[in-house]
């Protein structure tokens, strides 16, 4: 049995015997068609976590950059990963996306415009799903580069992103440690792009997982670069430089998520052969070592404080 079919079968069992009984009980069966997709997301997410764990853990043991006396701070990141990749967040995101898409696309269609997909827009793409997949991957990764770069440029936005940078024990679990508001901005960001070029097709969940794997792997506590592939793919060394203490906040480098070409093209690449300590010296301790809730609360407080500061700064500049 192919991996894909095995996952479908597992998701089918999960749907029929765990999710549908809940939907049925609460009279939510209108989601029946989609709950199978949710289960697929969870199954693929779980598989990705297991594969990432199986690959990264031995490598972190083999060639670690840092040795830590204890790994308490890593545990919180494990929670972030499970929540974001296997748990409820993908389903909530999906529901939000679904509702937003219903309202917005419905309105756009009423105006007489039917949103295109990339493969319907670009002649010659249709019927070449693998090429389409890579073009979507490049566009979305480029968009993510700019989202990430901008999140380092605005004070209030960085107040949220600081949570991601505060980690001093950076490991392959750290990819998903983000403030929930930051996740929401990311969601809106990709929602807009999804409306412009269509939502990417999901024929190749394994390729998709491959890309997510690069993102997890780039956070791993591994002394490793990709040699000649450094200007193409984001390696642990490359992303560690982005997380370096001196690179927190504005004027950072290496913003790319999967393809480092964006940093080369937009002039923010740093390929130094250095493995620096990570963290954000200005971030409150709660952001680094707090529990999930403490980190979220602290991040929200910082966000609103810096919003207020920016507002006041704007006010003082206003002509009287």
């Amino acid at each position: 049995m192919s991996l894909d079919r095995l996952f479908s079968n597992l998701a089918g069992y999960m749907d029929q015997y765990a999710v549908l009984p809940i939907l049925y009980h609460f009279h939510w069966m209108e989601w029946d068609e989609l709950s199978f997709d949710w289960c697929l997301v969870c199954i693929y997410g779980l598989f990705a976590v297991i594969v990432t764990y199986a690959v990264c853990l031995p490598m972190e043991r083999w060639r670690p950059v840092e040795h830590w006396p204890d790994q308490k701070a890593v545990l919180t990141d494990v929670f972030y990963t499970l929540l974001n990749r296997v748990g409820v967040i993908p389903v909530i995101t999906f529901l939000l996306f679904y509702q937003a898409q219903t309202w917005f696309t419905g309105w756009v269609v009423d105006m007489g415009f039917i949103p295109p997909t990339l493969d319907s827009l670009v002649p010659g793409l249709f019927g070449h799903p693998i090429i389409t997949f890579w073009i979507y991957a490049l566009i979305l990764d480029c968009a993510d580069y700019w989202r990430h770069r901008l999140s380092h440029s605005f004070r209030a936005w960085y107040a949220l992103h600081a949570l991601h940078h505060a980690q001093r024990q950076m490991s392959f679990w750290s990819d998903d440690r983000n403030h929930i508001f930051d996740d929401f901005i990311t969601f809106v960001w990709f929602f807009v792009i999804g409306l412009l070029i269509g939502i990417p097709p999901l024929q190749f969940p394994l390729l998709m997982l491959g890309l997510r794997f690069i993102e997890s792997f780039s956070h791993a506590n591994i002394r490793m670069s990709f040699g000649p592939l450094e200007p193409i793919l984001v390696s642990p060394r490359f992303h560690r430089l982005h997380h370096a203490l001196r690179a927190a906040g504005r004027g950072s480098c290496n913003y790319a998520g999967v393809f480092s070409i964006w940093d080369v093209i937009f002039g923010t690449a740093d390929f130094s052969n250095a493995y620096l300590p990570t963290g954000d010296a200005k971030a409150p301790e709660a952001l680094a070592t707090g529990t999930y809730l403490e980190q979220q609360l602290c991040g929200a407080k910082m966000f609103f404080q810096s919003l207020a500061k920016s507002w006041h700064a704007l006010g003082s500049r206003r002509p009287t």
């Binding site: 079968n9 089918g12 029929q16 549908l20 049925y24 209108e30 029946d32 419905g106």
Partner: protein, 327 residues
């Protein structure tokens, strides 16, 4: 004419005599809604002979009134894909807003499309595919059917738990009535409307005049879609969970259950071959089941992710056959 691809896909030893002549093999077209593709199966050899691309999520199908084109809906891709109904040779695609399920009015004048995600019931001019009327009758319009005289159309509103009806001549709404949790499949049968109620334990029978519920029949949890085998006078209901999934066979008059076939993996749409075997899309199993209704045994053919609608070219032999639900 047999296509080159078809000929190449057939192992030499299996080349049926018919394949040499002008008659292409009978085919099964499966809409893989999770794989953005359409699998074409040779019904004789049971081999996949072609996989055609779609944009996002192909779901249901309809034959054009002249039966020269097979339309496949792609809701996420906002498109119809057209195929030759005999060979499944692709004939191109056109843009249409969120088509999930569809049916032509019996006079062939209109094509009505349920846009499930956008909450629209759209009426198009059948020939030009230009929008004639847009109803916003409820949320998540799911399945639809007409009265055979073509006067009325009925569409289930999955999220607002209602059945909506409009007058096809005047294009004015007739009524919207609450009919139970998550209605799905809709079928005109013996001057009544049968509606599958997914959130409850079976189907209901509705009076098409005023939307009054006249009967309730338990068929199994998660009754999803309904099909009528006219020749053998059997009504089939696919039950898609929670728990074990099945296909129920009912007497169309009494609505009494005659037999329940256990079909694991979420049976969705069905179609019946001339030999009496029932071809069933198994959503969660990435497979098509070929069920022998006499023995209850079935074989499986692996297809793409989440197979949804299923079409057999042998149905062209049935006079007037246009939609999946009347077999």
């Amino acid at each position: 004419m047999i296509t080159r691809r078809t000929a190449l896909a057939l192992p030499f030893g299996l080349l049926a005599p018919a394949a040499y002549g002008d008659t292409p093999p009978p085919i099964c077209v499966v809409m893989n809604s999770g794989a953005a593709s359409i699998s074409v199966i040779d019904m004789n050899t049971r081999q996949i002979i072609a996989t055609e691309p779609a944009f996002r999520e192909p779901s249901h199908w309809a034959l054009t009134p002249d039966r020269k084109t097979l339309y496949v809906c792609d809701a996420g891709g906002n498109a119809f894909f057209a195929f030759d109904p005999v060979t499944a040779a692709p004939l191109g695609h056109c843009t249409i807003a969120d088509p999930y399920q569809l049916a032509y009015s019996p006079d062939g004048k209109y094509l009505v499309v349920n846009a499930l995600r956008l909450n629209h019931v759209d009426v198009y001019d059948a020939a030009s595919l230009s929008l004639v009327k847009r109803f916003k009758a409820g949320e998540m319009p799911s399945h639809l059917d007409f009265s055979p005289d073509g006067r009325w159309c009925f569409s289930s509103q999955q999220k607002t738990n209602a059945l909506f009806s409009f007058d096809v001549q005047t294009l004015e709404p007739r009524w919207t009535v609450p009919i139970g949790n998550t209605p799905a499949g809709v079928l005109w049968l013996n001057d009544k409307i049968i509606v599958c109620i997914m959130g409850e334990n079976g189907i209901i029978e509705v009076d098409p005049v005023d939307g009054r519920i006249t009967r309730r029949i338990e068929t199994g949890p998660g009754a999803h879609n309904v099909f009528y085998d006219e020749d053998n006078k059997i009504l089939y209901i696919s039950n898609r969970g929670p728990g074990d999934t099945s296909l129920a066979a009912l007497d169309p008059e009494t609505l009494e259950i005659k037999r329940i076939y256990k079909i694991p993996g979420g049976p969705d749409d069905i179609e019946i071959a001339p030999d009496g075997k029932i071809w069933i899309a198994r959503r969660f199993a990435e497979a098509v089941a070929i069920l022998d209704p006499v023995t209850g045994e079935y074989d499986s053919i692996p297809v793409g992710r989440s197979p949804h609608g299923i079409y057999l070219s042998t149905c062209l032999a049935r006079k007037g056959k246009l939609t999946a639900e009347i077999i």
